[in-house]
């Protein structure tokens, strides 16, 4: 498990991270969400040791992180880049070796990864000759070549076409399934929602929310219900103690003041005719995000 404990960091007068704490559990896909400039990249750089924290600590498997431990992490920086004139396979092998693999294993892993990412036939082309999408795939191979024990990916999906997103998603899931903790940041909240087990939301350098995705959604649901009846649903406006959020023909969205009113609401609806749908509204990540960041 990766633990970030009260990490703070300043750049000049600006406090970029303010007592940031969260954890990334083994085998958990953890989405790291925040607006531009919220502190995601700084936090990730501190985990990787590329930047130092002013205070606080980063702990991996109960130990502070040393160079030899850090070498076994996999990283995809937000600012992508590889040597443009190096050949794809040669480049990935080189990075594998910098992460401590011997030559044989680095070559074997590289060949396997390029196959997996559909890059095998470009193995001997220079990176600059690849399309942008393929360069992104090479970048992912660079993060994975050494079978990392922890994955830190800064915006891994930006710049990827939908096909590549699927390849990467399944690749990351496979890694997580073997127990590797995966921390990834993204602007695309729908992707985070689809992919992650846990969510960490950061705003202005502070962690606003952190926890299991489903629990968060439950926690942030507000006794809202979506009702669909056969006739016009305008009658909900006449109910006492009900806040009407939306009425559109036979559909209505309402918010109750307390959770135990749901059966009463259903009875009210049934007494006026058949009820086709009666659903609690669980907020989407995007809604929670807007709420906590505000």
């Amino acid at each position: 498990m990766l633990e970030i404990n009260s990490v703070s960091r300043r750049f000049g007068d600006r406090l970029v991270l303010d007592e940031v704490s969260f954890t990334v559990g083994p085998g958990r896909m953890t989405g790291f969400v925040g607006a531009n400039g919220a502190g995601k990249t700084t936090a990730m750089r501190i985990i990787l040791g590329v930047l130092a924290a002013d205070s606080g600590s980063v702990v991996w498997r109960g130990q502070p992180i040393s160079q030899s431990v850090r070498q076994r992490f996999g990283y995809m920086p937000e600012e992508r880049g590889l040597y443009p004139k190096m050949k794809v396979a040669e480049h990935i092998v080189y990075l594998g070796r910098l992460h401590g693999l011997d030559a044989g294993r680095a070559k074997k892993n590289t060949a396997a990864l390029l196959e997996e990412l559909n890059l095998a036939e470009r193995a001997n082309d220079t990176l600059e000759s690849l399309s942008l999408g393929n360069q992104q795939r090479a970048q992912i191979a660079a993060a994975l070549v050494h079978d990392p024990e922890l994955l830190i990916l800064d915006e891994p999906f930006s710049g990827l076409d939908p096909m590549a997103v699927d390849v990467v998603v399944s690749t990351l899931r496979d890694r997580a399934a073997t127990g590797v903790p995966v921390l990834f940041s993204s602007h695309q909240l729908d992707v985070v929602e689809r992919l992650c087990d846990d969510v960490v939301i950061i705003a202005d350098g502070q962690i606003r929310v952190a926890g299991e995705r489903e629990a968060l959604r439950q926690q942030h649901s507000r006794y809202q219900f979506k009702i669909t009846v056969d006739a016009d649903a305008g009658w909900v406006r006449d109910l006492p103690q009900v806040k009407v959020l939306d009425v559109d023909g036979p559909h209505a969205v309402v918010e109750l003041l307390s959770p135990d009113q749901d059966q009463w609401l259903l009875q009210q609806a049934l007494s006026r005719g058949p009820v086709r749908q009666f659903d609690p509204v669980i907020p989407k990540l995007a809604q929670i995000f807007r709420e906590v960041v505000r």
């Binding site: 750089r45 990787l48 040791g49 590329v50 930047l51 130092a52 160079q67 030899s68 850090r70 070498q71 076994r72 992490f73 990283y75 920086p77 600012e79 992508r80 880049g81 590889l82 040597y83 443009p84 004139k85 190096m86 080189y94 990075l95 070796r97 910098l98 992460h99 401590g100 693999l101 011997d102 294993r105 074997k108 396997a112 990864l113 196959e115 997996e116 660079a142 994975l144 050494h146 079978d147 024990e149 690749t171 496979d174 890694r175 399934a177 073997t178 590797v180």
Partner: protein, 381 residues
């Protein structure tokens, strides 16, 4: 691992570790490999070797061969033979002049009509006086040298010039290559991936090591070609056995001096690269170092190969790598002098590399625009 499921790492991941020394080696190996694959680098190196080979071999080819002379009369024939010329006998002044005009001979010796010649012979040439013939037939005054060096004045200029030139070109080439390689990593952003896997110092050390190996390789190759060239052309009037020994000694000292001098600058080149984030800005950030490289070059040439100025230069860390071997070639150094100068260069090199290491770490990850030295000094990673 089979292809479709290969993403699953095999059982407990083996702890893979790479020592700093290992990282340095990997980085250095990449630098060397990339450079050796660069066609323009290969061509310019070959070109340089050809120049050195030509410079050492050609003079003896051009200088060789006897002067061809047309001679009229027994006195002239005697004089021509005595001067070591290849003699063609003619039977009239007109015939001699015709041979000179047609270029069949370089000069003609005819009986003197002016009465000014002690040998009674006059030299006829086309455009300019044939100096070797003139001097062979002149009566030289006796000369007493108080401090004989046995070195031809032309060589006394050429050898220092060659040392200065080689040092200048090689340090500039490989120094710039360090700076460019650093900027490339910043500009392409690959640097963040690198420093996330290995210590920044290992990255710097690897770069310096790789380019030092390349530079030394080139210097040794040049030295070997130069010595072979001298061997091929053989001992001649210019390159006497004594001179060759001196060149050999100077070369032998030049190599460690070059190594120390290159290391002295290498770290600074890396800093010049780390301070900027685009290749286009390298010109301005490397300017001070280019000046430091030019200093010994122009200093040694200006000194003319001797004098107090050269002596001072031979103890300044940035001038010593060229100035001290040149002084040794001229033979006016005590045994301890090169050792002291070399120690000074090495000490300065260590200081420079430590300084460079801090500045490099402070500026490497600032990928936006230029970093000032002050900022680089005070930035923590």
């Amino acid at each position: 691992m089979s292809a479709p499921t290969l993403m699953k790492p095999t059982a407990p991941a083996q702890p893979a570790t790479l020592s700093s020394a290992g990282a340095v080696k990997l980085v250095a190996a990449r630098e060397v490999k990339v450079r050796l694959r660069d066609k323009s680098f290969i061509f310019s190196s070959i070109f340089l070797l050809l120049i050195v080979a030509a410079a050492t071999i050609l003079p003896s080819l051009f200088g060789g061969g006897a002067t061809t002379v047309a001679a009229l009369g027994p006195q002239a024939q005697q004089a021509a033979v005595a001067a070591g010329a290849e003699v063609t006998s003619v039977d009239s002044v007109e015939a001699a002049q015709a041979l000179v005009r047609s270029g069949d001979v370089e000069a003609a010796l005819v009986p003197d009509t002016t009465g000014a010649s002690p040998l009674g012979v006059q030299i006829v040439a086309l455009e300019e006086a044939p100096s070797d013939l003139v001097s062979a037939m002149s009566v030289a005054s006796p000369v007493q040298l108080l401090a004989p060096t046995g070195i031809d004045p032309a060589l006394a200029f050429l050898v220092p010039f060659a040392f200065a030139m080689v040092f200048f070109m090689t340090t500039l080439t490989f120094g710039l290559s360090i700076a460019q390689s650093v900027v490339e990593e910043k500009q392409t952003r690959v640097v963040e991936l690198l420093v996330a896997s290995i210590p920044i110092r290992a990255l710097l050390a690897g770069k310096v090591l790789g380019n030092t190996v390349l530079a030394m390789g080139q210097i040794v190759l040049l030295a070997v070609v130069a010595l072979l060239g001298l061997q091929v052309s053989g001992a001649s009037e210019l390159f006497t056995a004594e001179v060759m020994t001196k060149i050999g000694t100077a070369l032998a000292w030049f190599i460690p001096f070059f190594l120390a001098g290159f290391l002295l600058l290498a770290g600074l080149w890396a800093v010049a690269g780390a301070l900027v984030s685009r290749q286009e800005d390298l010109g301005s950030s490397t300017m001070p170092i280019q000046f430091l490289v030019m200093l010994p070059f122009f200093g040694v040439i200006y000194s003319g190969g001797s004098g107090i100025f050269l002596t001072v230069l031979s103890y300044l860390p940035f001038g010593a790598p060229v100035a001290m071997p040149v002084r040794m070639f001229n033979g006016d150094t005590a045994v301890w002098e090169p050792l002291v100068a070399l120690a000074l260069v090495i000490a300065t090199a260590i200081g420079c590399i430590l300084l460079a290491s801090r500045l490099y770490q402070g500026s490497l990850l600032r990928t936006n625009g230029r970093t000032s030295i002050k900022q680089a000094w005070s930035t923590r990673s």
